[in-house]
Amino acid sequence: MTEHDRGRHVRAGRRPWLGVASAAVLCCLAAGAARAQTLAGSVRSAAEGAMEGVLVSAQKAGSPVTVTVVSDEHGRFRFPDGRLAPGRYALRIRAVGYDLAGPHAVELGAAPAEVALELDRTADLAAQLTNTEWFMSMPGTPEQKRPLLECMSCHTLERIVRSTYDADALVPLLKRMAQYANNTTQGRVQPRIAEREVRDDLAQRLADYLATVNLSAAAKSPAGAAPTSVPSSVPTWPYELQTLPRPKGRATHVVITEYDLPRATIAPHDVRTDAQGNVWYSNFVENFLGELDPRTGANHDYAIPVLKPDFPTGTLDLEADADGNLWLGMMFQAGLAKFDMKTRTFQVFPVQPGLNDSATQQSMVMPRAFAVDGKVWSNDVARQSIMRLDLKTGQYERIDPFKLLHTGHQHSPYGMAADAGNNLYFMDFGDENIGRVDARTGATTIYPTPTPKSRPRRTMLDDRGRLWFTEFAADKLGMFDTKTESFKEWKVPTPHTYPYDVFMDKNGELWSGGMASDRVLRFDPQSGRSVEYLLPRPTNIRRVFVDNSTSPVTFWAGNNHGAAIIRLEPLD
């Protein structure tokens, strides 16, 4: 069995019951769809005249759905016919360096509407920078900036650079944050139960660096004044703020739809669609599996049983098995969950007591080929090990894939794929390796990536036995051919992108996204041609998914910090 791993649709059962609020939205949108109108217009500024590459977003009052298009080389934009129902729409733009002067809203009636948007230079450029642009702007060596890669998991870099803490104040803050679970967001902080050791010298080194790039020097006030993280006026930094260019040409040929989820605390992590077009997502901080109907914006939560009540909640990896049922890595709840698509019920597989302690963490699950031997793959982040669940006994076995290697290296089995024989391929996110575990013998083969310290993250296995993966710390996309046991690597076009995941679509193009750049990368490994689609809002992307059933294909991802699901439709 080959999987074209995540391109497979999961099979959906009966439609779930929809909440009252969601149903109201459904009626409103469905009624409007029959009388949908066109909105078009122009974008200009005094500084540039007609502007290309400005994202124009329209959100109907009371609707969770925002549609975005991008202005062309003449400064013109047009929403697709049928996308916007009559009503009052709030308008917003994204063009770094600019704010929308007006109009901020438009009334769509029976006839097509035309608006002329005027932009002004922004007074607060820093508020518009992506994490990538902060990485570009901040002085410092790659070694100094490297620890900040972990910060993006919970918050933006803007939060750091706007702080006025000096090094002495930062040290205890860093130590406190190191005790938060990976599945922490600003909306929901989840302390770890098992305390982590943080070396004083490393905390001090990082604090010393951060104090050179934040506002602590500018905020030096009379002795005794308390530090604050909220400067009173628009601040300036002791270095030039650098920005990426606006989209041009092909990067403007796109329609982006954002579906706001009903609670700001929802942190969509992995996203995939089913054959009915519904969207399923793991929730990184709440113990729910989410389902979104993109036709209506309606959301449904399926509560996952809580296994360890005092521990952080939320799930990470969301995978489909060969029967179309969904599986989730339960993180600090310590186990795996299977969601039956017909009965809409969960079966949970807790890690047994002998292997389950206060640090146990299952971020990944790989059920794709369990029919071969009745085994499902997972990991234990805390032990830097592979876990394998025997579905007959419900017992896990621990496999240390690095036991033969030098000790003292930080390893972390992360993204996973299984081949037709249920042999496991995994990414060593902590280091620079791809690993293979033989399903029959348990023997491990380690393949170092050509680029050292690449930190391979998530992966997919295509029909030709090629693993496509991201090299998070190396800013590269990678391919490992499992047949020839050879690698290829491609640098992403924008430095400091730090790609999280990649997906090969039916046309052989790669799609990628991450936590830094607010951009979706589309890359043709044959030609080297790439296009980067800017997203309308700050968007923390984790797992990416491409629906191959549409033409052109449709890209999906979650906004992990923004409680939204993103649909990106290229127009070519």
Partner: protein
């Protein structure tokens, strides 16, 4: 005046001397850091551990010929696992090595490339047990 001509085997000696020196320098520059169980922390540096098994290096060459680039090199512990890498443009491979519990004599090196078959491997004498182990692997054209 004619410059004395170096024979191929002389190049091999120079290559090995250069490689050995480079590896010793690289090992000396290894920076200790934090190893952190959860995969995240305030640094992604590694803690070097001096009490480890030796690393492996060498050339993959054609028999009586030049180094072979992009050849697959497998360092295998029979039935326990393996580490697979590829040679660089000069035909050089480097394998960081295994843990201290692994007897280097149990580690076998094999090389492969399309259009070739492995002829033999030659393990150079090791001075100190902690020194990198040099193993040359020879390929023969099919």
């Amino acid at each position: 005046m004619r410059t004395p001509r170096l024979r191929r085997k002389d190049f091999g000696k120079l290559d090995r001397a250069w490689l050995r020196a480079a590896l010793i320098v690289a090992a000396a520059l290894a920076v200790p850091g934090l190893a952190c169980a959860g995969g995240t922390g305030l640094s992604d540096d590694d803690q070097g551990n001096a009490d480890e098994g030796p690393s492996y290096f060498g050339f993959v060459r054609e028999v009586d010929g030049p180094g072979v680039a992009d050849a697959k090199v497998t360092a295998e512990l029979k039935d326990r696992g393996a580490l697979v890498t590829r040679t660089d443009i000069l035909g050089v491979y480097k394998i960081p090595g295994f843990g201290k519990d692994i007897n280097p004599n149990d580690v076998s090196i094999a090389c492969a490339k399309d259009g070739y078959k492995e002829a033999n491997t030659v393990r150079r004498p090791q001075g100190d047990p902690k020194d990198p182990i040099e193993i040359e692997c020879y390929l023969k054209k099919l």
